[in-house]
Symmetry: C2
Subunit: 251 residues, 2 copies
């Protein structure tokens, strides 16, 4: 298994996210899926439905990371400009993909036929492959290291499912969590010392306020389960030594 760290960035294309109208769900689902593939989500950019802004973000992400994913803007309407923007970013033409046309013709055979608007969804940057979409008409698109996915989260999920196991990755990050009813400010030094003592781990501290009480969850991440387990055990015993109860798995 490779020790190289594989990275990805995500460009979320959508006025509806930037307006606050829609709560994004794709960042979390793509992050979790990527981790299973051994790929680390390293940056997300949310940009409006404006070609220049999409081009700029896609070029930054596709050249900065191993993989570039995008969500949104691949439907049949006037605000669906993702394919044109990515073709422009790559400096290639937009062409009709014959398999996409065939898939759409089949999908719409019993749904009123393949109109010009629907045929828009068969347009791809030249040189692209399709990512199957079992839920609706418009396929996802792979072109080079750019993966163009749907914006509707359950359609995105189906496309991720179709991509599972097809991307080269490294070792997935594994994690362990413990929780404690403690203000993180009381144990900040302890936490920093434990992180330093365990090579290769990162400890995240996530405070919360519930039922009038202060608590925090501590998430230990590394690429080796034994390293995570040893760090969790050490952190647990050091917190318990301060007289506090520790909740395995988090609160």
């Amino acid at each position: 298994m490779s020790e190289r760290i594989w990275t990805a960035g995500l460009v979320v294309i959508g006025d509806e996210i930037l307006s606050g109208r829609t709560q994004d769900k794709n960042v979390a689902q793509i992050a979790l899926w990527l981790n299973v593939q051994g790929i680390r989500l390293s940056e997300v950019r949310v940009v409006p439905d404006v070609q220049d802004r999409i081009v700029e973000a896609v070029n930054a992400i596709r050249t900065g990371y191993d993989y570039c994913f995008t969500t949104g803007g691949i439907g049949p309407t006037h605000d669906d400009i993702t394919v044109d923007a990515i073709a422009a970013a790559l400096g290639v033409d937009v062409v009709i993909h014959p398999k996409a046309r065939a898939a759409l013709a089949s999908y719409y055979e019993t749904r009123g036929g393949l109109t010009d608007a629907r045929l828009r969804m068969a347009r791809v940057p030249d040189g692209a492959d399709l990512i199957p979409n079992r839920m609706s008409g418009a396929p996802g698109i792979r072109v080079g290291n750019v993966f163009i996915l749907a914006g509707v989260p359950n359609i995105t999920a189906g496309m991720l499912d179709a991509l599972t196991g097809t991307l080269e990755g490294g070792r997935p990050v594994v994690s362990g969590t413990i929780g404690c009813w403690v203000a993180e400010s009381e144990i900040a030094d302890l936490l920093g010392a434990v992180e330093k003592a365990h090579s290769g781990v990162a400890i995240g501290s996530y405070p919360f306020f519930r039922e009038g009480r202060t608590g925090a969850n501590f998430v230990v991440r590394a690429t080796d389960q034994a390293v995570v387990d040893a760090c969790i055990a050490d952190l647990t015993s050091k917190l318990e030594a301060t007289g506090r109860d520790v909740v395995a798995g988090g609160i």
Copy 2:
């Protein structure tokens, strides 16, 4: 009222968002709050808890838009590096803010006193003002056009509340929504034509699949309510002319 469009970008600082562990809620709440202030959220970047990456994103956003907001990384633990990163981005020192120190001393008077770890939360980029935090110890920070907010959404909300009405903005974007049980591909041309016929509007088309049926909501945005209303009326009558029922307010 100014017709200039005021813009903001947001840098979400957080390994927990990029790992998929935590579902971000700040993008939507900041977007909605900004719109009420007459400021348009125009870009979001999510970056890991790594100083260089925060510096790069903050510099891009603070120079590219009127305002730069950040969320996350202002607590007392080792992974809270936002203040240091933003001071580095601005090329200024990190100093202890006397009012922040006093606020923390008061907050922790009955909670075990002001330790070194807690005093970390009084550190600000030189020249900064504080943003009140009524929920917990660490204040938010304003330095130039950069607004450093908490990552925990209900604390972020309190800081936004404290900032309400203090930022110069323009005319808020207003919107209207209608829904229709229709595949967006069937009315794509109609939609594009209606958008073109109404100057200053943007129509977003948001398809969904529910109970085995295909539908879409259409959101009309503009800075003038009369323009939105006229466009909604036109779109409604054109959709009804195709024999479809339109649901005011969306489905």
